[in-house]
């Protein structure tokens, strides 16, 4: 549905987006990750046709956003960053306006508004003015605007920003449900959201894609993937560390003692290696092991490693 090729945007001498290429198909939810200022919002603004790219092409549902902007925009629902809405209107008036702008009239319009209101739980504030709404409701009002025409493509710029945990949960479920039939791109800072919602994630740093894969694949890039953590009673940290270091597939061992307990982590030589767990179990035969678990890998660690300049390489 969405195809981005060699997308570039420069602001003066600064390259905000640098030769970005990716595509999103129907039924896919693509998570956009990256530090602030990495070019996430700029990319989304180009896909929705708000700012023109310096170079490259974007097609949405077969329509080129530069050559046939109206055809492409009809397919897109867009929630901009900070969820702007006309503050002088009521929620009902605002959604009616959005539906009309999408070419809905009469009964079709009221049905579209009704549907969006139900999906975003807005009944209780329907006749309230937008500037009196709490942040959560304002966000949902703008979200409702983006789905009012049941678009094939949804572009959501930080859809859960500033919401409380319950509201975050609701919005995530909504995105996941809609992701079954639509092509969705959403940006976020919250890594747990990637696991909860995305079928694929892209990490962007300084305008470039630095990682692209399913949440699982990304996690496997972590040093923690396949690492084994164990808690042992009645041994010193030094002995535990020494014994574990002798394992064939171990790369690094850390061990800390608290009281008479030692917590140790063994990192594998190749991330995601399943052999390590077996080796550790064999090696600790006869120890007083209280707990032993294999780590899945940590997204936040992957994120930090590939987006922090000083720890790179």
């Amino acid at each position: 549905m969405i195809k981005v090729e060699n997308l570039t945007k420069t602001f003066g001498a600064k390259r905000a987006v640098d030769e970005l290429s990716f595509s999103v198909g129907r039924g896919e939810v693509l998570g956009f990750l990256g530090p602030n200022g990495a070019g996430k919002s700029t990319t989304m603004r180009m896909i929705t046709g708000f700012i023109p790219p310096t170079g490259g092409t974007i097609t949405v549902g077969g329509f080129d956003i530069m050559e046939n902007p109206i055809g492409a925009k009809k397919l897109i629902g867009y929630l901009p960053e900070n969820a702007p809405a006309y503050t002088d209107m009521t929620v009902h008036g605002f959604l009616n306006f959005a539906a009309e702008m999408r070419g809905r009239r009469g009964a079709e319009k009221s049905k579209a508004v009704q549907r969006a209101v139900e999906m975003c739980f807005l009944e209780s504030v329907l006749h309230q003015s937008v500037d009196t709404l709490s942040k959560g409701y304002r966000h949902r009002t703008c979200f409702a605007q983006s789905i009012i025409h049941d678009p094939d493509v949804l572009i959501l710029d930080e859809p859960t920003d500033g919401l409380d945990p319950n509201q975050k949960h609701e919005i995530r479920q909504l995105i996941r449900r809609m992701g079954e039939k639509k092509a969705i791109i959403f940006s976020t800072h919250i890594l747990e959201e990637v696991d909860a919602v995305c079928s694929r994630a892209i990490i962007i740093d300084r305008g470039r894609i630095v990682a692209n894969g399913t949440p699982e694949e990304l996690r496997h890039k972590s040093d923690w993937a396949g690492a084994v953590t164990l808690r042992v009673n009645g041994m010193t940290a030094d002995t535990v560390e020494q014994k574990l270091r002798q394992l064939r597939t171990a790369k690094k061992v850390t061990a800390t003692a608290s009281g008479n307990r030692v917590t140790a982590t063994v990192f594998p030589q190749t991330a995601g290696d399943g052999d390590l767990t077996r080796e550790v179990i064999e090696a600790t035969n006869g120890w007083q092991v209280e707990e032993l678990r294999t780590e899945e890998g940590r997204l936040d660690e992957v994120f930090r490693r590939i987006t922090l300049p000083d720890t790179k390489n």
């Binding site: 929705t48 700012i51 055809g71 809405a85 006309y86 209107m89 959005a98 070419g103």
Partner: protein, 250 residues
């Protein structure tokens, strides 16, 4: 989708926005009070004993509009950019010019409504004497066109900045130029300065709204004057679209 439908939708929203905020009511009340005061107290409507509105009523309009129209136009794009709704509006499936025209027409209709509410002065002059209502009608048309020209200039200044105050000040200055270019003392000064280079003076004065409003006030619907106002509007709206596009690219 049809452009007319889009323009209508935007226009309707914009008009509603005026009336849900106090702007509309404050504007109308002040506009009518100023008109009443200047027509009857300063313009000496009764003392003149003329069955005409030209010298007592319409002559003030270029000056009223100087301050009031930029106040109506300043929020058009500045607010849209400040709040971020511009991003929403321009990612809808519409052409940018449809949004520009829709918003302009809404404000222009609003100014037309305020102008129309001065009708008691027409009733008064008709009650007291028998004026030429054709002249009055022509002057109303001219006044509305002039308001449109000021408004279109305010559209440009509103698109330039996020701040409504800055937009207001710049458009007052720009509109002041449109007036002063045809203001008799200024024309005299220009003639002295340029040693009566008539072509230069007349080029400058031809940009003045006063020169072109003059004909309407006398009851003359000259196509050249109509074209002048319409072309100021057209040019300004085009400039607005260029400015909005430039903002998005840089």
């Amino acid at each position: 989708m049809n452009p007319l439908g889009n323009i209508k939708t935007i226009c309707k929203r914009e008009l509603l926005a005026y009336f849900t905020s106090p702007v509309a009511y404050v504007f109308i009340v002040i506009f009518l009070l100023l008109n009443g005061f200047f027509t009857f107290m300063v313009g000496g409507f009764f003392e003149r004993g003329e069955a005409s509105l030209t010298n007592s009523f319409f002559m003030w309009h270029p000056w009223f509009y100087l301050f009031l129209v930029p106040a109506v136009g300043m929020r058009l794009w500045a607010d849209e950019r400040r709040v971020g709704t511009l991003e929403l509006l321009l990612t809808m499936p519409i052409a940018p010019w449809e949004a520009i025209v829709g918003k302009f027409v809404a404000s222009w209709l609003f100014l037309g409504l305020a102008l129309g509410l001065t009708f008691p002065v027409v009733l008064t002059v008709n009650h007291l004497g028998s004026p030429d209502n054709g002249v009055i009608f022509a002057a109303y048309v001219g006044s509305w066109l002039m308001a449109g020209a000021y408004l279109a200039v305010s559209c440009i200044t509103s698109a330039i900045t996020r701040s409504q105050v800055v937009s207001f000040i710049i458009s007052v200055v720009a509109c002041l130029f449109l007036i002063l270019a045809g203001f008799p003392p200024v024309i005299n000064l220009l003639q002295n300065l340029t040693h009566n280079w008539q072509w230069l003076v007349s080029t400058i004065t031809s940009f003045s709204v006063i020169t072109h409003f003059d004909g309407f006030e006398k009851g003359v619907l000259d196509s050249r004057d109509v074209i002048f106002f319409l072309s100021v509007i057209g040019f300004s709206l085009f400039t607005t679209s260029v400015i909005l596009r430039t903002h998005r690219t840089s």
